[in-house]
């Protein structure tokens, strides 16, 4: 069977977006997260549960607490992806910063933020990566840091390139940085992707479009902030992250 064309994928994306808009207009709640069953992203077809999730409303659930990390878990250089090798990586040097908050707007303090990304040519330092773009001996593309008392994180890196993938013919991922976040509870765990403003590949990408709510989709796109750019050095982006899910405030008080 030949892979679907971009036109086929576009049509499926539009159909699901229209169905969502119609549902919301009819009173259905807005959806912040992607539907796990999102056929335009072909790999989701066999990898989503068909049974409804089982709600757990137990105030004693272990998941209302979560893993903790500390200064031993990171080193100073981990947050600067441009200084992890002997030489400087190729590409457009950027900084990405923002705050990690819970839905009540409280900062998530001292928690682990991990990122990974392709290099400037759109190539991951991963053995199963087939894209024939050059590897950069001075760039691995992995970073981590702990949030500060205001929930702030900060990375220096280079802007990743877009890259092709096998979902359909001529499929290209918009440039993105993968983020992994921990909150105060395991229920707040989040793995997501940050995109760059104005990327022309947005409408063609079923992974981004799996977030069918337009406002929610916009929350995945960082903002270019000129004041965060460093003269003669780097361009600055800001991206704030809000973690979903309940946490054990009843436990926090006792901490």
């Amino acid at each position: 069977m030949s892979p679907p064309t971009q036109e086929t994928i576009n049509a499926e994306i539009c159909e699901l977006r229209d169905a969502y808009a119609k549902a919301v207009a009819g009173g259905a709640p807005r959806r912040d997260h992607p539907d796990r069953d999102y056929p335009p992203y072909r790999s989701s077809v066999l990898r989503h549960p068909k049974r409804p999730l089982v709600a757990v409303r137990d105030p004693e659930a272990m998941e209302l607490t979560g893993p903790v990390f500390g200064t031993t878990d990171v080193t100073e250089l981990d947050s600067d992806l441009t200084r992890q090798h002997v030489g400087e990586p190729l590409g457009e040097r950027i900084t990405v910063t923002g705050r990690v908050l819970d839905r009540d707007g409280r900062p998530v303090r001292g928690q682990l933020v991990e990122i990974w990304q392709a290099n400037a040519a759109g190539r991951y330092a991963h053995r199963r990566e087939q894209h024939p773009a050059p590897l950069d001996p001075n760039f691995t593309g992995v970073g981590r840091c702990l949030t500060d008392d205001e929930g702030r994180y900060h990375f220096t890196t280079i802007k990743p390139g877009p890259y092709p993938w096998g979902n359909h013919t001529n499929a290209w991922r918009p440039a993105h940085i993968h983020f992994s976040l921990f909150g105060t509870a395991f229920t707040q765990r989040l793995v997501t992707q940050m995109y760059f403003p104005g990327d022309p590949l947005f409408p063609y990408d079923p992974i981004l479009q799996s977030v069918t709510d337009e406002a929610a989709r916009r929350r995945l796109v960082a903002e270019y902030v000129h004041d965060l750019s460093v003269p003669e050095y780097s361009l600055g982006y800001r991206w704030d992250i809000v973690l979903d899910g309940p946490c054990a405030t009843w436990m926090e008080k006792g901490r």
Binding site: A55, V68, V191
Partner: protein, 186 residues
């Protein structure tokens, strides 16, 4: 309430970033109380999922739920991962399944709770999934009690031999095997 940041798939290329040496070793080396939980992750065709990442979170043997830092403890000179210090029980494990879709976790029994919490990530999975490994059925667990037997069985680890438990995860039923029960806390 602030609107949350949407989830996105972990994708296929997290392997050089997220797994860390000793991620599957929660138990201090040689601890006689240690137990192994292992199994396979399957998709809706019954095939193994070779690129899933599993995270585990559990109470310490003494029942403490606070965890401890140091799961990814690093050498401040070289940046290399030293791993856990063998004293503190961090409560957190992270394991990437191998090319056969298999994982193995070596940990200590959780105190005061019959289960270990699991968070599942994979390429093709747009939003992670939670489930639980129950090492036994205490009979009065509210979640287990609420499930019909066939569904309940997907959360119960099967003792294979002394200290070794089998726990498979099925992201989708394949027509023969029951889909794992996944949980919603929101």
């Amino acid at each position: 309430m602030l609107p949350p940041t949407p989830s996105q798939t972990i994708g296929p290329f997290y392997g050089f970033a997220l797994p860390f040496p000793g991620g599957a070793e929660l138990a201090p080396p040689g601890d006689p109380a240690s137990l192994i939980v292992h199994g396979y992750v399957h998709d809706g065709a019954g095939d193994p999922v070779p690129d899933a990442l599993l995270e585990f979170w559990q109470a310490a043997p003494d029942g403490s739920r606070t965890g401890a830092p140091g799961s990814l403890r690093r050498d401040q000179a070289t940046g290399a991962v030293l791993g856990r210090d063998g004293v503190a029980f961090t409560g957190f494990g992270r394991v990437a399944v191998d090319a056969d879709g298999h994982y193995a976790l070596r940990t200590l029994p959780p105190g005061g709770l019959p289960y270990i919490s699991v968070c599942v990530f994979a390429r093709g999975l747009l939003h992670h999934l939670y489930t639980r490994v129950y090492l036994s059925d205490p009979g009065d667990d509210p979640l287990l009690a609420s499930l019909e037997p066939k569904r309940r069985a997907t959360l119960l680890a099967v003792p294979e031999r002394e200290g070794v438990y089998r726990f498979d995860i099925r992201l989708q039923g394949d027509g023969t095997h029951e889909e794992t029960v996944f949980l919603d806390f929101r």
